[in-house]
Symmetry: C2
Subunit: 390 residues, 2 copies
């Protein structure tokens, strides 16, 4: 049977500021971002016929299930399917993909995808403990391996295989902090000096304080819809060219390498095939830089650079918004914008949609194709969305 | 654009026994059910190209995220999209619907939907506390309202509006316990006498011990696939005629009535429309009898009886497997089979698939159309699948 699937569009995006704002509740953050995305699409809550909610820590920290239903009630969206999805720090990327699939399946015309996280009300030891639940607790968690520890191992392995200096890691941070300066929703809006980064508090060798994305609170959302409904809004349109997902090993003992994430490479292969493009066709990308080293690995896994060459290319400025070629994390990325984990994947979509509309703060001139890449756990899951100017 | 969507089929189902078996891990249960479903479909783990995992309590009780990825690794399914979904006691019904949507969207050919729950390792106070996270914690949870308490309120409201005796509630329990006798996977395989039910320990007036489904451990799974792949297996086929979902109020203060669940009525309306049937066309149903009163409310909400008449009809035997007309919960339902909450929706699918294949223990002669109804929280979410003999 030959089936011609409907095209899927993003008609609206919204984000709260990413800040340490512990007095705002998780549901309040989610509802705020959801309303902003609907406003951006020129749609009302009563137009929504499906909600996906991506979140990682709410269950552990707030002790509340069925959050998507609670958010629906608060938004005034009654009776629609409301589904909670979890994929660690990749939860919002998953929520977006489920929305896109549901529209493509003809089961939703206006699907609201929201990601949110509230972190800063908890203590750092508590947050570190619950974030570790994104790894294999039975082997890695019980041994005391935290995420800074895991990505410290990744950086050490990369240094061993390809060579890696403090300056290579700092180049990622300085670029993303520079990009974040003009992003009104970013947590960090100031440049940082190389000396500051090199002398910062050690976290997990060779990673220091600024190599780690920051604990904060925030939410982001996107309205995913059909072509007809998107056109009817009269708003700028962005087409979903691909929305793919892949899994990988969860625990360190299952990994045959620490210098590539198979979930990302598998997912990228599928996404480029589905979109009918290669990595070279991408003008702008938001990638998952939870740590500085992660962006180095990601940009090779995504095919922007050969494996082993990304750290040099980034240090030479290849991914800066001011230089020609692929621009990576013009929003500031997780290092500049902050990383409220369950919100990140949709904050990435927010930036790429703005880029394709031509209204981003660090606008890539004439951007036609953009992508977002959201990683969960130690590579347990990855999602990629390829979006195109409509 | 006119789109002809592919038909979606269930090619295999599997379930573990539902028991108090605290020595078996949550992932072990899920992997066991997943393998059974694949064996039933005549497929190998390497045939699987997507996994949805429904679970409610694992995050709170086990402190482990990204469970779908962990299950994939254990099953030997590498690289595929692995997504965790949560909708309280309706989590497995959601996992099944996401699988069906993903196949329909052309994004998966062989999607493995698994639901699992491990409960009996925790103490009853601990389980009661985490189950309450399926309600609105900010209003109901903080006031001490537990789920037996909530459904006690439902029973009291029903008694006030329509009249309800101990015998009406006991008729539900006795039917489901009778049905469970021949189900090898059921927790309770013995009949209960009316006097035993009437004199059992009070839990939340008017509900007594046997009015409440039992805490236990178990998993169930289904393989959802395309028509072509399903036919290629050479196994008995069951078609997904509809797979719908709806939400409703979460907290008691949002409810305008306690004698109907809007999530169920909305969902049923959509499911019957999508399947092109009415309630009268259904031969056999698995409905969400988390408490005896819930089955009374469900069977009216689903349109099997007029509102206010279900309790009398059930007491007269209208839904027993031995009498003509609609048969409800031939597996024993949650009251007879046990209710490992995140597994229940797929245990229901398991029973309906067996009914439509003609191989169920309490076989409804010539069953052509069956349905499952899975409720989450205090009606925060409902899913319905309508399945047809292929």
């Amino acid at each position: 049977m030959i089936v011609e699937y409907p095209e899927v569009y993003v008609a609206g995006v919204g984000t709260t500021p990413f800040r340490q704002q512990p007095d705002i509740g998780l549901v309040d953050l989610a509802v705020d971002a959801g309303r902003r995305a609907l406003d951006d699409a020129g749609l009302a809550p009563t137009d929504v016929d499906g909600i996906y909610f991506g979140n990682f820590l709410g269950r552990s920290l707030e002790g509340q299930g069925v959050l998507a239903s609670i958010i629906a009630v608060r938004l005034g969206v009654m009776g629609v399917p409301t589904t909670n999805v979890e994929g660690a720090c990749g939860s919002a990327g998953m929520a977006f993909r489920q929305g896109a699939l549901t529209v493509r399946a003809g089961a939703s015309d206006v699907c609201l995808c929201i990601g949110a996280e509230r972190m800063s009300a908890a203590s750092t030891p508590e947050i570190t403990r619950v974030l570790a639940e994104a790894g294999e607790m039975a082997t890695d968690g019980i041994a005391g391996l935290t995420f800074p520890g895991f990505f410290g191992l990744v950086a050490s392995a990369y240094a061993h295989v390809y060579g890696l200096s403090r300056e290579h890691l700092s180049a990622v941070i300085m670029k993303n902090r520079d990009h974040a300066i003009t992003n009104p929703n970013a947590m960090f809006r100031s440049a940082v000096a190389a000396e500051t980064l090199a002398s910062a508090k050690p976290i997990a060798d060779p990673l220091r304080l600024f190599d780690c994305s920051a604990i904060c609170d925030g939410a982001a959302a996107a309205v995913v819809t059909t072509k007809a409904r998107a056109q009817a809004t009269g708003r700028p349109l962005v087409r979903v060219m691909a929305s793919e997902q892949a899994s990988g090993p969860v625990g360190v003992n299952q990994m045959t390498t620490l210098t590539t994430f198979p979930a990302t490479t598998t997912c990228a292969e599928r996404a480029y095939k589905a979109a009918g493009i290669t990595a070279l066709d991408i003008d702008v990308a938001e990638v998952h830089d939870c740590f500085s080293i992660t962006e180095v690995v990601d940009t090779a896994d995504l095919g922007f650079f050969a494996h082993g060459e990304a750290h040099e290319a980034i240090a030479e400025g290849a991914t800066r918004s001011s230089t020609p070629g692929i621009v990576v994390n013009p929003s500031g990325g997780l290092l500049g914008r902050g990383h409220p984990v369950g919100a990140t994947g949709l904050a990435q979509i927010h930036e790429i949609v703005h880029q394709l509309r031509g209204v981003a703060e660090n606008q890539v001139a004439g951007a036609q194709i953009g992508m977002s890449h959201n990683l969960g756990g130690a590579g347990a899951t990855a999602t990629i969305a390829v979006l195109g100017r409509a």
